[in-house]
């Protein structure tokens, strides 16, 4: 049996980044993942703008609605339902293989090649030193790691505006920003006029940092602003883990085994076995390496660890940002034409920093509603479909969606554990209890009101506030918190799992605080930090 220096479990943002760092250090690396991918829709989508596709392509229903019309089916608001058909592979086979039991929490997980980051929103944020300390991440190492990751993936943005202290830290080499949507541009100009007043209310607005190229880089093209970001990655302008996986796949010291689910590990003298379930054949297989790096996401890694260590009556903590969104109308833009080129990603970021110490920041992300289908809006409108269509068509160019992420510290009522489940191929289900305390609910409500007030003062009128099921932020962390000593179910700062010699964790399981900023860049920086420090 082949011995690898490192087995990396998971190929998402953290797995890909850790594998790249280890491979660059000269180690032999085996990446294990579920390997789900899209082989139906991606090749159907022509290289045209969203509007041109809509006006010209007869087969568009296949990738906008799905071959089984699955995207047109009526569904209640829930995590994952917003995935477009070309992105549905991200959650393929998850219901069957990653069973969850919870009355209060609805997570999204992935067995895809590239994991959840195959569909991430590309919004990047650097944690402040205060946030890093709260998360038990070493600021000096993380600052260097942020720059390494930013150089690898490519980030565009408008460094220097009021988002600078909240977004970029001291990142260098930021590419110029992509053009701003005209509806969002109105808000930005209103902010400039009222900046002093809004800052006094502890809010700061600026352009977001996006992992979307505005200039070519490393063989990838700049975004051509086709506005198809929710459907394809044609120019490879958006960084997805597949870009890194493709780049390292050709290296002689990297191997990749897909279609497997890492279920547990067994340490042995001088090494560790990763025990996997073959997803198709359902038989158990083993891969042996000197060290195992778990990068299965906070929930997936928790499953593996709970199965591998004595865990009777063990409950692990859980962090997740609570997410709320508010559809907003900008009256000044109603009925106006929209440019055919643009993107539907985050246009502006609004930071609420009440103690001005960057310890307790809530983040609003403002999207325009450009490339999602109108019928999705009609569902939410309490009018008949015919007249709602006429009304919403008129409103569409003045519609923005403001999402609000709240930071999450460890608190009571949030834990997970494994329960037997004979219907599951792994024999278990992940039970999750996640209840907000009265204090948290009150704090979130107050903050959301403050966000709504600020949006109104910028000219965007929230029409309602929607709090989707807990788990909708898809930001999970904190299940194996960083701690001193070698206690089981904790990590030391190097990422080593307590009670083991050769098992390390490179995802967000160790974070002891979850800031509200876009999580993925920080996850990748931590994965690089852990991988860079592992003994070869």
């Amino acid at each position: 049996m082949t011995h690898y220096d490192f087995i990396v479990a998971g190929s998402g943002a953290t797995g890909a980044m850790a594998a790249q760092t280890l491979a660059q250090r000269g180690a032999t690396v085996l990446i294990l993942d579920g390997g789900r991918h899209d082989d139906r829709y991606a090749s159907l989508i022509p290289q045209k703008t969203f509007v041109d596709i809509r006006r010209e392509e007869e087969e568009q229903h296949r990738y906008f609605l799905g071959d089984a019309f699955e995207s047109a089916a009526y569904r209640k608001i829930a995590p994952g339902v917003q995935l477009t058909p070309p992105r549905r592979f991200i959650v393929d086979a998850v219901d069957e293989l990653l069973k969850v039991r919870s009355n209060s929490f609805a997570p999204v997980e992935s067995l895809a090649r590239g994991g959840l980051a195959s569909g991430w929103g590309l919004h990047c944020g650097v944690y402040s030193d205060a946030e890093l300390e709260l998360a038990s991440l070493p600021p000096g190492d993380m600052r260097a790691a942020y720059q390494t990751v930013a150089d690898r993936i490519g980030i565009s943005g408008a460094a220097g505006d009021d988002a600078q202290p909240y977004t970029y830290g001291d990142l260098q080499r930021i590419a110029p920003p992509l053009p701003l949507d005209p509806t969002a541009a109105l808000l930005e100009s209103a902010y400039q006029r009222k900046r002093e007043h809004i800052n006094l209310r502890d809010f700061h607005l600026g352009r977001p940092a996006l992992a979307l190229l505005s200039q070519p880089k490393d063989g990838r093209g700049a975004s051509t602003l086709r506005d198809m970001d929710f459907y394809d990655d044609a120019e490879r302008a958006a960084w997805r883990p597949a870009i890194t996986l493709d780049a390292i796949a050709g290296l002689p010291n990297v191997a990749y085994e897909s279609n497997v689910l890492v279920t547990r590990f067994e340490e042995r003298d001088g090494g560790v076995d990763a025990v996997v379930l073959d997803i198709d054949g359902r038989d158990e297989r083993r891969f042996t390496g000197k060290r195992l790096v778990l990068a299965c996401g906070a929930l997936g890694t928790a499953r593996v660890v709970l199965r591998s260590l004595p865990s009777e009556n063990v409950r692990l903590p859980l962090l997740c940002n609570t997410y709320t969104y508010m559809p907003c109308i900008v009256p000044a833009r109603i009925g106006r034409a929209m440019p055919e080129r643009g993107n539907s990603l985050v246009q502006l970021a609004l930071f609420h920093d009440p103690d001005t110490a960057q310890r307790d920041i809530a983040v609003g992300t403002i999207f325009s509603y450009r490339s999602l289908m109108l019928f999705r809006l009609l569902r939410e409108t309490p009018l008949n479909v015919r007249d709602a269509r006429i009304f919403m068509q008129y409103l569409l160019s003045g519609l923005l969606i403001a999402g609000i992420d709240h930071p999450q510290a460890r608190s009571e009522g949030k834990s997970l554990w494994l329960e037997p489940d004979p219907t599951s191929p792994t024999g278990d289900a992940l039970a999750i209890a996640f209840d907000l305390t009265a204090g948290e609910l009150l704090q979130y409500d107050e903050r959301e009101r403050a966000f709504a007030q600020t949006l109104r003062s910028l000219g965007a009128w929230p029409v309602k506030r929607v709090r989707p099921p807990l788990g909708s932020s898809i930001h999970y962390a904190g299940t194996l918190p960083f701690a001193t000593g070698q206690r089981p179910f904790t990590l030391d700062r190097s990422g080593r799992l307590g009670g083991t010699q050769n098992v390390f964790v490179a995802d967000g399981s160790g974070f002891t605080f979850l800031p509200a900023k876009g999580l993925t860049l920080s996850l990748m920086a931590n994965a690089h930090r852990v991988a860079a420090g592992l003994p070869l």
Partner: protein, 121 residues
């Protein structure tokens, strides 16, 4: 096919083509949408669709008739021939009058639908 034709005509206020109707019928089968009294009544009495749709939008948003109408909207929206009815476009200030008319019409139809609904269930 009759249901598809009626629903398509209701949403766009003009006839829709056979491709759209066939695609709608296939989508209904794929999604396993069945039939109920309200949907049958609406398809057989197109004058009632707006009223029942408006009433259900308020009282029972996940009713089968609403699901089927939204499915037809999705199918129309992804046909090049009809997509302009769903894309944002520049409007003259006078168009606000037609929006106002549509909203007024929707309110009246909803009130009518709330009265009608108990008789067609």
């Amino acid at each position: 096919m009759n249901e598809a034709r009626a629903f398509g005509r209701y949403i766009l206020e003009r006839d829709v083509d056979a491709v759209t109707c066939e695609r709608y019928d296939r989508a209904v089968r794929e999604l396993g949408y069945g039939d109920d009294a309200t949907t049958r009544f609406a398809a057989g009495n197109p004058w009632s669709i707006a009223a029942l749709d408006g009433a259900l939008a308020l009282a029972e948003p996940d009713a089968l008739l609403r699901k089927k109408l939204l499915l037809m909207a999705a199918i129309l929206e992804t046909r090049p021939a009809y997509c302009d009815a769903f894309l944002p476009r520049h409007r003259l200030p006078l168009d606000a009058l037609s929006i106002g008319y549509a909203l007024l019409r929707a309110a009246v139809q909803t009130a009518l639908g709330l009265l009608l609904r108990p008789f067609v269930r």
